[in-house]
């Protein structure tokens, strides 16, 4: 979600095998420098991809002697996913961050083969995406201050996850401003 000079990214903490809950501390948000990546979907692909991107962004850092920017990272995600066009990773990635040079907030989402969805307001992904669309479309407003953005994204995620049997078991929220990152864990229904 985009706010005024800030972005927020959040995920639930559930890992499940169909209806069986397996873990309640499976974080789906990863960061590579100041760029954040949310990855939902098949857990093994989530882990594989997050490690792939850790490798690729480290290589980028060594070659360029600087951290990767969100826009660049989005294209890296897209091309990495499209490499597996006919045997894709089963994931729903989203990218969020603030460009360190322009200080512009940036978010985008992808389908599982890397088609980028640039959005000005919010991006959702995962099993509760319908619910998240409904929540975000009705509670979101542009140009929120970081604390208000935190409340908005948290309410959107919590209420959406509570209406999805496959989501929940706690949540994590990152609020990113140009010189500060705040990470908070949220309590939620445990059913």
């Amino acid at each position: 979600m985009v706010g005024k000079d800030c972005v927020a990214i959040a995920s639930d903490l559930r890992l499940g095998s169909q209806s069986l809950g397996v873990s309640n501390n499976f974080e789906k948000v990863f960061n590579f420098g100041h760029v954040f990546l949310g990855l939902t979907g098949l857990a093994s692909d989530v882990t594989t991809l997050s490690e792939t991107f850790r490798f690729k962004t480290n290589m980028y850092k060594m070659r360029e002697d600087r951290l990767i920017e969100p826009e660049t990272f989005a294209n890296l995600v897209s091309s990495t996913l499209y490499e597996k066009r006919f045997g894709p990773y089963f994931v729903g990635p989203i990218v969020a961050g603030i460009n360190s040079k322009t200080e512009k907030p940036f978010i985008c989402g992808f389908d599982l083969i890397g088609c980028i969805d640039f959005a000005k307001d919010f991006i959702v992904a995962g099993t509760a995406s319908d619910q998240l669309y409904g929540m975000c479309e009705s509670v979101y407003e542009p140009n929120l201050e970081p604390e208000d953005l935190f409340e908005t994204i948290s309410q959107a995620l919590l209420n959406a996850a509570d209406r999805d049997a496959l989501s929940g078991w706690g949540a994590v929220v990152y609020v990113i401003t140009k010189d500060k990152i705040v990470k908070r864990y949220l309590k939620s229904r445990q059913d």
Binding site: Q131, G134, M135, S138, Q155, N159, A160, D162, R163
Partner: protein, 242 residues
């Protein structure tokens, strides 16, 4: 063998079994509905778009009905089944008046609806049904049903195509789910209270304009029917037509 006509053998080119291509008696006509109960009123709202696949059949089909006795009914899903269910209900209601000479209460209407739905358990009405009205104590009531008649009385319920988009919003804004009392510093849940009619109507409008934005089968116009002990009244609002 004497044959009167020259036999064309095409007639025997018949399959021993019928071709395995069954007629599908159902379709999905989109649309979404929403019912909210207040202290002494209830609202039942629905969009007026009727579609099949990617085609909009009509932009102005009401699907919320005042079926009589201060009961609102809407059956959303497969339009033909929805209409049939509402007609069956109205017919039963007429006979109820003839036989008992009194109004049908909302909880009896709910039980009747269950009987009608479960009566077709093995060839179901493909609809999500919502009833709204005022109960015998004068409190607003909303009953919601699955296609085969399971039902529950609730404070609010969304049904149909965009139910999954609207329902979490309702949990949050009607039942104050995940909301805390601001003065308690996160130790106490926000207390439940009845919403005013104006608040409810505003929620309904917000819910539908959000659903219209993200769901292709929702749009055109919004019909909101408000029922109190004094009767029902309808208002229309426009929604996006794309």
């Amino acid at each position: 063998m004497a044959q009167t006509t020259v036999a064309s053998e095409y007639s025997s080119e018949v399959h021993a079994e019928p071709i395995e291509h069954r007629f599908n008696p159902y379709s999905d006509n989109g649309g979404t509905i929403l019912g909210i109960a207040g202290e002494d009123f209830a609202v039942l709202a629905g969009d007026t778009r009727q579609s099949e696949g990617y085609s909009i059949q009509s932009r102005s089909m009401s699907k919320v009905f005042d079926v009589g006795d201060n009961i609102l009914m809407s059956a959303n899903g497969f339009a033909a089944d929805g209409d049939a269910l509402v007609k069956a209900f109205q017919n039963q209601l007429k006979w109820y008046h003839f036989n008992h000479n009194k109004e049908l209460s909302i909880h009896s209407a709910a039980r009747l609806t269950q009987q009608l739905l479960y009566g077709k358990r093995f060839f179901p009405y493909y609809v999500h049904t919502i009833l709204a009205g005022v109960d015998e104590e004068g409190k607003g009531a909303v009953y919601s049903f699955d296609p085969v008649g399971s039902y529950e009385r609730e404070q609010c319920r969304a049904g149909g195509a965009a139910a999954s988009l609207i329902m979490p919003f309702l949990d949050n804004q009607v039942n104050f789910k995940n909301q805390m009392d601001p003065s308690s510093n996160g130790t106490k849940k926000k207390e439940l209270r009845y919403l005013s009619l104006q608040e409810v109507v505003n929620l309904v409008k917000d819910a539908f304009s959000s659903a219209t934005e993200r769901h292709i089968n929702v749009g055109d116009a919004l019909q909101i029917v408000i029922v109190t002990k004094d009767g029902a009244r309808t208002e229309y609002h426009s929604l996006k037509k794309d």
